[in-house]
Amino acid sequence: MRVFPDMPIRHKLRVAFLGTILGALLLACGAFVIYDVISFRRSLVNNLVVITDALGKISTATLRFAHETEAARADAEETLGALSFKPSVLACALYTEDGALFASYVKPGSTIPVPETPASDGSRFENKQLVVFRPVILNGKRIGTIHLRSTLDELNQHFESYVVISALVFSNVSLLAFALSAALRHLILHPILTLAEATRKITGQRDYSLRVPETTKDETGMLAHAFNQMLEGIQQRESALHSANEALRETEERLNFALNKSHTGGWELDLATHEVERTPEHDRIFGYETLRDRWTYAMFLNHVVPDDREDLDHRFQEAAANRSEWSFECRIRRTDGEERWIWGVAEYQTDEEDSHPSMAGIIQDITGRKLAEQEIRDLNTSLEQRVRERTAQLAAANQELEAFSYSVSHDLRAPLRAVDGFSRMVIEDYGGRLDEEGRRMLGVVRSETQRMGRLIDDLLSFSRLGRQAMQIEDIDMQAMAREVFDELVAQEPPDRKIRLELGPLPPARGTATMIRQVWVNVIGNAIKFTQGRDPAEIEIGTATGDSGEPVYYVKDNGAGFDMRFADKLFGVFQRLHSAEEFPGTGVGLALVQRIIHRHGGRIWAEGEVNRGATFHFTLPHPPS
C-alpha cells in the first residue's frame, strides 16, 4: 500500500502538519493528565493521612482511658462521627494498643464494615478505595491504631474534568491548526503547484515559451528559477531544432524537385535483406505507374536484359565487397515489354556500428541519350567514310594535277623551245636573205614563245604552292617589306621617283618564303601601276581589324581599277589592263590570295580608276 507516497503534496503537507501538532498536543495533554492524577492521588493520600493523624491525636485522651470508661468510647465515637462532613470518608475506626476495636464510624448507607483488627500501618488502594492505617502515638509511645477508608470519587471527578478540558483544548487547537495549515499550505504549496501546473501545461501543449513566476527567494523560488532556465535552454534548442528541421525539409524538397524534374529515381538497397526503398520515379522508370509494395535486388535483376545481367551483378557484388561506388549502364525490359537503357550510380553506406550496410543511389532512363550517341556514332562513321572517299578523290585529283604540271613543264615546253630555237637559227643562218619585215616577224615569234614560257612558269609555281609545306615562323614584316621594296626599286629605271611611306608594321607568323612572295607581288604591283606618276607614292602600313588583328595594307596613287571588276582581281590569268599598258601574266594576285588563304587570312582591294588602289590582307597567326 503506497498511500502516502502517492498522495498529492497538499494532503501530505496537511497530514504532516496536523499530525505533528495534534500528536504533540496529545502527548502533552496525556502527560499533564497522568502527572496531575498522580500528584492529586498523592495529595489525596497525604490529606487523608493528615486527617487520620489528626483524628488519632484528638483521640489519644480517650484512647488512654479506653479501659476505664464507656464514656470514653462514646466520646471517641463522637469524634470519629465528625468525619461525616467529609462525604468521601466511608468508614473510620480506632483500635487500642492491643489491637481491639475501640470505636468506629461507618458512613450511613455504606455496607462495608470496619475490620475487627488493624492491618499494618500505611496507606493503600483497595477495591477503588483508599485505606489508611496510622499509629496513634502519645509521648513517643504507641497507644493504638487509627483506620480510615475513603472513596476515590474526588480523584475521579478531578480526572474527568481534566479529560473534558483536555478534549476541549485538543479540539480547539485542532481547528486552529487546521486553519493555520491551510494558510501555510497555500504559502508553501502555491509556488510548487504553479510549477506543477506549468509543467503539466508545457508537457501538454509543448509550449516552451511559458515561464513560471519567481515570487519567492526560497528553495521553490530557486526551483522555479532553475526550471525557467531549463525552459530557456529547451526553447533555444527547440528553435534550433526547428530551423534545422526546416532547412532539412527544404533541402529534401529541392532534392525531390531535382530528382522529379530530371526523371531521376532514388533508391536505397539494404545489403542484408536486399530489400529496396525507392521513390515513385524509380518504379516509373521500370514501367510501373504507381509505387509497388515491395522491390528487391532480385526483382531489379529480373528486369535487366539477360545479356547485361551477369556483368551487372558481378560489378554490384564487387562494389558491395569493396564498399566502393557502383555505377552502371544497362538495358532493362520494362513491365510493358519495352527495352530501355538506364544509368545508375550508388554509394556504399553504413551506420556507426556497421550493422546496416546499404547501397544508396539514383537511376535515370538514358535511352534518349543512347540513341543520340548511336546516331552521332553512325553519323561519324558515315562522315569518316565520306572523308576517306573525298580524301581519296582529292589525292587522285592531286596526283592528276601533278602529272599535269609535270607534263606542262616538260612536254609543253619542248615544242616552245623548238619554236624559239629554230626561229633563232633561221635569223642566224638565213637572216641575210630576209628583209626587215621578215626579221621583225620572226622576232615576234620569238618574244611570244618566250612570254608563253613565262606563263607556264607562273602557272607551275601557282599550282606547286598547294603542295608546298608550311613552316610557320616569326616574321619581321617591316624589315621584309623594306627589303622587298628596295630590291624591286633597284630594278626600275633610275629616273623614276618613288616615295615610300612605311609605317611601323607589327610582326606576323607564317611561312617566310610565301609571305615574301606576297610582298613581292603586292609592292611590285604598286611600283608597276604607278608608272608615269611623278612622284609615285606608296604607303605601307597597318590598321586594326574587327577582331583586333592587324590588317596590313599597301596603297598607291597609280592606275587603280574599276571596283566593278574587283572580284576578277584575284582570278588566275585575269587582267584588268592590256599587256601593252602594263605587262604581266595575271597570275601574281591569284598566287598572293592563295598564300594568304593557306595562312588562314583574308585579302581584299579597293580602287578607283586613275586614283590608285589599296590592297589589304590579314595573317591571323599571332606571334608566339
Binding site: S409, H410, R413, A414, P415, R417, A418, D420, G421, F422, M425, D457, L460, S461, R464
Partner: protein, 155 residues
C-alpha cells in the same frame, strides 16, 4: 691533257638535241660528242659490250643527261652511274625544262654535279662547266685553241 675528250649527250627530243649540238658545235666542242636517245642506250654506253670494246679507262669526261627519257628515265640512269665504282666520278650535268623543277633537287641528291635549263646555249653550258671546275673543256673548245688531232665529227 692527253685524254680524248668525249661528251655523252643523252636526249630523246631531236629538236632539243639539235639545238644543243648547234650551240656546242659553234664553240667547237662537239667533235668528240656521242648522242644517245634513251636511258637504256646510255647505260649500254657505260656497261654494255660497246664499253667493253673500248680501251680500258676511256670514260667520257662529261655527261649531259635529260631526265624524261624513253625506256629508262634520267634519274635511274644517274642512280646506276653513281652505284658503279667505274662511273662514280664521271661528271653529270642534268638538262631540265625549268629551274623550279622539283626534279632538279632530287637529282642533286642522286649525285648530279650541275644542271642546265634547256635550251642548252653555250653561255649556260660554260657556266655549268665552270662550276664543275672543268674549264679546260672550254679552253679546248675555244675557236683557235689547241685541239686534239682527231677528226671532227661530221655534221
Amino acid at each position: 691533257m692527253n685524254r680524248e675528250l668525249e661528251i655523252l649527250l643523252v636526249e630523246d627530243n631531236p629538236a632539243d638535241a639539235e639545238l644543243t649540238l648547234r650551240a656546242l658545235r659553234r664553240h667547237r666542242l662537239a667533235n668528240r660528242l656521242t648522242h644517245v636517245v634513251d636511258g637504256q642506250a646510255a647505260l649500254d654506253f657505260f656497261f654494255g659490250p660497246a664499253a667493253a670494246a673500248r680501251p680500258d679507262g676511256t670514260m667520257p669526261v662529261l655527261v649531259l643527261l635529260d631526265l624524261k627519257l624513253p625506256k629508262v628515265n634520267g634519274k635511274e640512269v644517274l642512280r646506276q652511274l653513281r652505284a658503279d665504282p667505274r662511273t662514280l666520278g664521271v661528271p653529270v650535268i642534268v638538262l631540265t625544262s625549268s629551274s623550279a623543277d622539283q626534279d632538279v633537287l632530287e637529282t642533286y641528291h642522286l649525285g648530279a654535279n650541275s644542271y642546265i635549263v634547256k635550251p642548252v646555249e653555250f653561255e649556260n653550258f660554260s657556266e655549268a662547266v665552270h662550276q664543275l671546275g672543268c674549264d679546260w673543256l672550254l679552253l679546248a673548245g675555244q675557236p683557235g685553241a689547241a685541239r686534239p688531232a682527231t677528226a671532227e665529227t661530221p655534221p
